[in-house]
């Protein structure tokens, strides 16, 4: 199994969700994060002074899938999350040694 981690724009969540549903991906975990990269930070104004906050809001998706499904899931996410503007984010693939479904104790791909 692998874990797919995608940092995306918050506005693209619905599209990505839909794309995953189409692929019958069983589950996902979402975290609110802030990211730094090539995308310019946002300018905040405070009592007449302005300054730039480098970290911009992103969502991090974590989806554990059997290794053989990784490719199609990554592609689906990339397509659904893309706007073409700087700041679209990244997808990383990370090896997973084991998985357990807490409710049933099932292990391995069956747990997903």
């Amino acid at each position: 199994m692998v874990k797919i981690e995608a940092m995306i724009r918050p506005q693209r969540l619905e599209e990505v969700e839909a794309a995953l549903r189409e692929l019958s991906v069983g589950g996902m975990t979402v975290t609110e994060v802030r990211g730094m990269g090539q995308q310019r930070g946002v300018t905040h104004t405070y009592r007449g002074s302005t300054y730039t906050v480098n970290l911009v809001p992103k969502l991090k998706l974590e989806i554990v899938v059997p290794e053989e499904r990784a490719e199609e899931v990554v592609d689906a996410i990339v397509q659904a999350a893309r706007t073409g503007e700087v700041g679209d984010g990244k997808v990383f693939v990370i090896p997973v040694d084991a998985a357990v479904r807490i409710r049933t104790g099932e292990r391995g791909p069956a747990a997903l």
Binding site: Q11, L13, E14, E15, V42, T43, H44, T45, Y46, T50
Partner: protein
């Protein structure tokens, strides 16, 4: 209210007033209306809370600012020109220019036959002029350009609110003379702004998030509840203060207001219980506002039971009306049409139905030609003010859109949120 009261004052249940001093000023009336003025002023920050709690977190400040801007713009525009257009010597349609920039207003002499200083009458009316355009802002939330908004509300205040206030409340206004009853602004305030909200929703189009299917969840309903609570508090000044004296009529209006808000809340909750099985906190907040809107035109003319009936009907009707937009497709973001438009129109008509001489002897005059005739008169007020506000609002927005290069913020600004995109701020850093 306002001029209306002069017409009725002699017949009213005025408390006897030995304190009536030289120059016709009564100090107790003055103290009460000064307090009422402050209470109505409170309604605009309260509205800011009420609305801002319902938008998404990235638009919370821009939404509050929409209301706060009126405290700035509205006060000055009313001083400069608005008051005199409404309450100057009128030809039936528009007032003269004798009060431009606050001229001929005094801290010690009354306006007409009132018992409070004309300066105070001006201030009390100012607070109505401040909140009415702010009500519209709920319809345009989360997507309107800031500059365009500023110009829009300025023009609307001068071209829609001021004339309409004069029609209904100036003793020479044509609707006043026709006999339209509007104690504290069902037609002038709520209907006019509710209809303008419909026009603005149509002119601006739907929010991008709606097309994307993004869930639009209120960022902070505790803020909305607090806003609703403070609106209730301020509304007592709005309605009971519209007696322009601390007299029997003001007591009747106070009672009807309190007894209108309560069943409005319960009516909306019952409606929700029936529809979805779950009464909500937002429903309670919305319902109490609906009840208050409904009872506003009626407050000084109905008994407690009348207030109870109007409040309950308004609560249920508005609960139903706020779902229309989903079917009809206009994006009235915070339901100004469903609450103020529908509640205002309903209240105006129901004022004709429930107005009672037991509450206010002046109703005897209003019923001279029978109740059907009074209801018709009320309906005429609703239709003419509604049509006028709708058309003028569309026209103003056309012009503003042309001047400002479009009414809507850039797509990217809308996606980022107006707070950061237009104002360089975010509401929360928690």
């Amino acid at each position: 209210m306002a001029a209306f009261r002069f017409g009725l004052a002699l017949a009213g249940l005025t408390l006897c007033s030995p304190a009536l001093a030289q120059g016709g000023i009564d100090k107790a009336d003055t103290a009460w209306i000064a307090v009422s003025t402050i209470l109505v002023l409170l309604m605009t920050p309260a509205l800011a809370l009420f609305y801002a709690g319902m938008v998404r977190r990235q638009n919370v400040l821009s939404t509050m600012l929409h209301s706060f801007m009126l405290m700035g713009i509205g006060s000055i525009v009313w001083l400069g020109l608005g008051f005199t257009l409404a309450f100057g010597k009128s030809n039936g349609w528009l007032g003269g220019f004798e009060h431009v920039l606050g001229q001929n207003l005094s801290g010690s002499a009354p306006y007409g036959s009132q018992t409070i200083p004309s300066l105070l009458f001006f201030l009390f009316q100012m607070m109505f002029a401040v909140i009415t355009p702010a009500l519209i802002s709920g319809a345009v939330a989360e997507r309107m350009k800031f500059g365009a908004y500023v110009v829009f509300v300025t023009l609307w205040l001068l071209l829609v609110y001021s004339p309409v206030a004069g029609w209904v409340w100036n003793s020479d206004g044509w609707l006043f003379k026709l006999g339209t009853l509007d104690f504290a602004g069902g037609t002038v305030v709520h209907l006019a702004s509710g209809v303008a909200a419909l026009a603005a929703s149509v002119a601006l189009g739907r929010r991008r998030a709606l097309s994307h299917g993004e869930p639009i969840l209120p960022n902070n309903l505790t803020m909305t509840l607090l806003g609703a609570g403070l609106l209730w508090i301020g509304w007592i000044g709005f309605n009971a203060g519209s007696a322009l004296a601390i007299d029997g009529i003001s007591m009747v209006a106070f009672t009807a207001t309190q007894i209108g808000a309560a069943p409005g809340m319960l009516g909306w909750l019952v409606c929700e219980k029936v529809r979805t099985g779950k009464p909500t906190a937002l429903g309670a907040a919305s319902g109490l506002v609906a009840g208050l809107v409904g009872v506003t035109p009626a407050a000084g003319f109905v008994t407690a039971s009348g207030g109870l009936a109007i409040g309950f009907l308004a609560g249920v009707a508005c609960c139903i009306a706020v779902t229309w937009k989903n079917r009809l497709g206009y994006d009235d973001a915070l339901d100004v049409v469903g609450v103020h438009g529908v509640g205002g129109a309903l209240g105006a008509v129901l004022t004709g139905v429930f107005a009672s001489p037991l509450a206010n002897p002046a109703v005897n005059d209003a019923l001279a030609k029978g109740r059907a005739s009074l209801i018709l008169t009320q309906a005429i007020g609703v239709v003419t003010v509604g049509v006028y506000s709708f058309l003028l609002t569309l026209g103003i927005l056309k012009v503003v859109g042309a001047l400002a290069g479009g009414l809507r913020a850039e797509a990217e600004a809308e996606d980022t949120g107006l707070d950061l995109a237009l104002h360089g701020e975010s509401g929360y850093n928690l």
